[in-house]
């Protein structure tokens, strides 16, 4: 039932200059590695990227940054990336920092048809200076609007032929919401299985949200290896 692709270049071919894209992942965990590589190779420019982080200098979204493909970044934590700093300070890159919970909820709202909602995070701080603040039950909340994208790129452990996705452990993170908020959602999955192979009660992302599926081998780079000796 779903379009199952074999070429990553083809998967991202209609992403054009100036598109807004959302990309799943937290740090380097759960990022659609090969879709990002294909986007780098496609060399599309002036992207607005919505993602919790912006990769590291030589992996993940950092690759698009290095290649100067991103005009604007909306995320919650970008501290791991030196090139990011350089581009912001030089005025090449516009950045909107959003509290992580607001970011997650704004993306969910985008997929769920909720144009705006109120949240306490950021009230009384610089980030709420230009938004409506309103009191409910004696507590102040800031109005937050939904985020949507032209294309959503997500990564899952399993995808079935109906587009149903299951994520592995903390590689879930932003992927389920991002899958709902793209006009077109492209899922890079570690394994493609026949519909019916996954337990219907255990699907994280129902297939209705996924327009394209492609299988990709993951490097899964580890940012901070910490061990119990």
């Amino acid at each position: 039932m779903k379009k199952i692709l074999t070429s990553f270049d083809e998967a991202v071919r209609d992403i054009q200059d100036g598109s807004t894209i959302m990309v799943g992942g937290f740090g380097l965990v759960g990022i659609p590695e090969n879709l990002i590589l294909a986007l780098r190779d496609a060399n599309v420019k002036h992207l607005t990227v919505i993602s919790n982080n912006c990769g590291v200098d030589d992996w993940g979204l950092g690759l698009l940054l290095k290649n100067k493909q991103i005009d604007k970044m909306i995320g919650s934590y970008v501290g791991e990336n030196k090139e990011f700093q350089r581009q912001v300070l030089s005025g090449e890159l516009d950045v909107e920092l959003v509290p992580q919970g607001n970011l997650a909820e704004r993306i969910r709202a985008g997929g769920a048809g909720i144009p705006a909602f109120y949240t306490p995070a950021g009230v009384g701080t610089p980030i709420a200076e230009r938004v409506e603040v309103r009191t409910f039950d004696n507590k102040e909340y800031a109005l937050q609007t939904a985020l949507k994208a032209d294309f959503s790129l997500v990564r899952a452990a399993f995808g079935d032929t109906h587009g149903n996705l299951i994520y592995n452990k903390t590689a879930q993170n932003f992927n389920p919401m991002i899958a709902t908020a793209g006009q077109v959602t492209i899922a890079e999955v570690e394994q493609i299985v026949e519909a019916g192979s996954l337990d219907a009660a255990q699907i994280h992302t129902p297939g209705i949200y996924v327009q394209r599926l492609i299988k990709g081998k993951q490097e899964k780079r580890i940012e901070k290896l910490t061990l119990t000796k």
Binding site: F26, G27, L28, V29, G30, N52, G75, S76, Y77, V78, G79, E80, F84, Q85, V88, V95, L97, P99, Q100, G101, N102, L103, A104, E105, I107, R108, T119, P120, A121, G122, V123, G124, T125, P126, I127, A157, Y167, N168, K169, T170, A171, Q172, N173, F174, N175, P176, M177, H204, K220, R221, I222, E223, K224, L225, T226, L227, T228
Partner: protein, 220 residues
Amino acid sequence: MDKELIREKIAKRAEQEIESISYVNLGIGIPTMVANYIQPDKEVVLQSENGLLGIGRFPLKEEVDPDLINAGKETVTATIGASYFSSAESFAMIRGGHIDLAILGGMEVSEAGDLANWMIPGKMIKGMGGAMDLVQGAKKVVVIMDHVNKNGDPKILKSCTLPLTGKKVVNRIITDRAVIDVSENGLVLVEVAKGFTIDDIVSATEAKLHVDENVKMGTY
């Protein structure tokens, strides 16, 4: 005392804030270290805002799963009875008041309980991550930090000079020198660490400090 020992001292004192049968979120840095000192008889579930309830110890080499990290992006394990979920669910949990305690680092705390811990204008842009959500959502917010900065200047101020993370959000401050509660009437000194006097603390604190009538000396 060397830096590592001071960090350890703060982390150990902070551990006492954790009650048995509770859900706790530990911030990045010294707060993460607190986990190492949790008394084994306490039933504590650690939440990680990237989508894990039940952070376990760091993995053995053979247990490492690159898909399993904490909010500080360190490889971890999950405890028995853990659960994974999305970031939206994770912050629903945080924002909805289901986390009993959040322990975070701090750059500055004000008399009113304002916290600044996410940015220094003109320096590296990092982002606030989940801190602004955590300080609003957790039932109790404890800030742990050095009492004074590298120049010896107070970090507990009449009002913060740095951009805020949250306004009136801190319940308790634990430093290398003292434990201070944020009350409706201002800051209250409740504990003084070994080797310090009440006067030491007062003079190293810019904000007005009320001394609790039952203030305890040399507790840690």
